[in-house]
């Protein structure tokens, strides 16, 4: 497969009055052409900061990309100037945000907001650009697009607004689409519609998608590969089936156990005790250690990344080649 994006050892920090927050530390992954990957994690784990960093949308100050490279098309996005970035943003890489009502301009009609990207990037006259806007709305399945382009965002429902956002993101046929919690604000039935749409556009336009979410269920149906983030680091990454069938990291295992399965009989719900760490003063070793039921003495040192079969990589001392344990058997005992 052809690689189109590779993130290498990305570090993002935020300088606040209380001290330096290490929002993302040492994150590396690659994205192939036409692939859908998922980034999962709880709030504050750095998943949204990672995606904003790819778009170079980290507000600075207080934020700062303090290390690493983001290679797209042979260019390092971290060192590009604003002008060069503008020709990539929206055109080559575009993004859908969580809350469509905040991300759309309330005083402009939907049509104008859609036409703007054609007028800016392709220098089309307004009339032609509006015609293209109608086509886009048709593509994302909005009924009566000719009338809808004259409406304002408040005249639409949440699902419809998110479709407009998707239309906007896809306007220039970008090669990468970053969807940052695209359905968190929506109902399950609308969520199903939107996910179906993203999948359809992925196959038809072969756009690569980075799907960021906290919902393990959404990722399961969509992604070929899943990255699990915790406290600013990728703790586990593997092909979707592999990750769900045999999680290696205790955090992933805990997450999977704390979601009830609607298709299975009721079983006791196990929870992960404690809460995510404070990133102002992260634990020196493994960040998950205080909540981990398998914590050992060595966990006070930061674990290295171990890559196993099927490209299943995990950052945990349990899977270290020198470890006497195997997570699979430990987890089975933990379930019993």
């Amino acid at each position: 497969m052809e690689k189109i994006l590779s993130v290498e050892n990305l570090k993002v920090i935020f300088n606040t009055y209380a001290g330096t927050v290490q929002a993302v530390s040492d994150v590396s992954f690659t994205l192939d052409k036409g692939e859908i990957i998922g980034i999962v994690g709880e709030s504050g784990c750095g998943k949204s900061v990672t995606s904003s960093a790819i778009m170079r949308l980290i507000p600075s100050p207080p934020g700062q990309i303090s290390g690493g490279r983001i290679i797209f098309d042979g260019k390092d996005l971290v060192s590009l100037d604003e002008k060069a970035l503008q020709s990539i943003r929206g055109n080559q890489i575009s993004m859908i945000f969580q809350d469509p009502i905040v991300s759309l301009n309330p005083v402009l009609t939907v049509g104008l907001q859609l036409a703007e990207s054609f007028m800016l990037h392709q220098k089309l006259p307004k009339k032609l650009a509006l015609e293209k806007a109608v086509e886009l709305l048709k593509l994302v399945g909005i009924p009566a697009p000719e009338e809808r382009i004259h409406q304002y965002p408040h005249q639409m429902s949440g699902g419809m607004r998110q479709r407009v956002m998707i239309a906007m993101a896809l306007a220039l046929r970008p090669r990468i689409l970053i969807a940052d919690e695209p359905t968190t604000a929506l109902d399950v039935t609308v969520q199903a519609q939107i996910m179906e749409l993203i999948k359809k556009l992925n196959t038809e336009l072969s756009t690569a998608v980075i799907l960021i979410t906290h919902d393990l269920g959404v990722v399961a149906g969509m992604c070929s590969r899943v990255l699990v983030m915790y406290a600013g680091k990728i703790v586990e990454s593997a092909p979707a089936r592999e990750l769900y069938n045999s999680p290696q990291h205790p955090y992933t295992w805990g997450l999977l156990k704390s979601v009830p399965r609607p298709d299975k009989q009721k079983a006791a719900l196990s929870s992960i005790p404690g809460q995510p760490p404070d990133l102002l003063a992260p634990p020196s070793g493994c960040a998950f250690m205080p909540r981990c039921q398998f914590a050992m003495e060595i966990c006070k040192q930061p674990p290295k990344e171990t890559v196993g079969s099927e490209n299943h990589s995990c950052r945990c001392w349990l899977v270290d080649p020198a470890s006497p344990y195997s997570p699979g058997t430990l987890f089975k005992e933990g379930e019993a």
Binding site: M195, H214, A220, R261, P262, S270
Partner: protein, 325 residues
């Protein structure tokens, strides 16, 4: 199990949407229309549905935060809305408590946790002085917090801990019935399970009865004894949790259940999704007859003419649909 604790009969709640020049209402949001159900003692009744289907309105009307437009709600045979406007209002209010969705908005930022949890004890004149303090400490311990937390303020706590404070406050007056209005939707996945487990423990310890309102369908199945499905202000189906999820009858319930994402790629690949088209109609001007007919794949002429009534079939499975005989 068979004692009815809460009996909701033909409940309707309209909100005024617009008024004319003279201030008289001209149109209404029909948030809840003609809803009837019972909650049995000791059970958890889950209510699910999409945004705006009226599930929160039902919960708030039951505890008396809203006055019903039509219909009655009674608790152990006594009409709630007559009682809370009468001389014995406090006895009725003590029986019914509520846990709110947003743990950030539902706690007063200027009160200490001890004051927040102790306030219901003061209002209902249950305990005072040293007794109240030890009762507050006891409540905090019960919900998994430390007694030292009593002197702190809400902003010092995380979302999950705040929700525990809200639970302690609801428990303070020894209620019989608690309405949990989306108590976990603002929390992270790993914290949700903690709060749900706490609610289950408290239920078995005190024999509490819950009305659990949520849009997370998998969590509702997990916690509920029975589940009710609402669409656009109407109750469309109600059955035991396992029965409803295994054997949904109403076309809307089927679509809703098929839309739940499952955290397993193999199961996801196998399933057939029913994708609903279009949007939920406006509750100001709902469709005639069956409210779901505009999005229903099986809509017939009859569906536009008359609203289907709730019919109880085998396994106590109640459905409102013309397709089901």
């Amino acid at each position: 199990m068979s004692d009815v604790l809460i009996n909701v009969q033909n409940l309707s709640k309209y909100f005024t949407a617009s008024r004319n020049f003279w201030g008289n209402p001209t149109s209404f949001v029909r948030a809840v229309e003609n809803v009837s159900f019972q909650v049995y003692k000791g059970e958890t009744l889950g209510i699910v549905g999409e945004t705006g289907c009226g599930k929160s309105t039902v919960g708030r009307t039951i505890v008396g935060l809203y006055k019903p437009t039509k219909g009655t709600v009674s608790c152990a045979g006594e009409d709630i809305h007559t009682a809370i406007h009468g001389p014995n209002a406090m006895t009725m209010r003590r029986k019914l408590q509520m846990i709110f969705q947003d743990p950030y908005a539902s706690l007063n930022p200027r009160m200490t946790v001890g004051d927040i949890v102790g306030e219901p004890l003061a209002i209902h004149k249950i305990t005072s002085g040293k007794d109240r303090q030890s009762r507050v400490y006891g409540l905090l311990k019960q919900v998994g917090l430390n007694p030292e937390h009593a002197s702190r303020f809400p902003h010092e706590f995380s979302g999950g801990q705040r929700q525990r404070i809200g639970i302690a406050r609801a428990l303070a007056v020894n209620p019989e019935f608690i309405v949990c209005d989306e108590p976990i939707s603002a929390l992270d996945v790993s914290i949700q399970a903690q709060v749900v487990n706490l609610l289950e423990e408290l239920q078995s310890e005190y024999g509490l009865t819950y009305l659990f309102i949520a849009h997370d369908l998998s969590m509702v199945r997990h916690i509920s004894t029975r589940v009710a499905v609402m669409y656009l202000g109407a109750l469309v189906e109600i059955a035991a949790a396992d029965e409803l999820y295994k054997n949904p009858q109403h076309p809307y319930t089927k679509a809703l259940l098929s839309a739940i994402p499952i955290a397993d790629p193999a199961a996801e690949a196998k399933r057939q999704r029913i994708i609903l088209t279009g949007d939920v109609p406006s509750p100001i001007n709902p469709p005639s007859g069956c409210k779901f007919r505009t999005r229903c794949r099986f809509a017939m002429a009859k569906c536009a003419e008359m609203a289907p009534e709730l019919i109880t079939g085998a396994n106590n499975h109640t459905i409102a649909c013309h397709l089901v005989k």
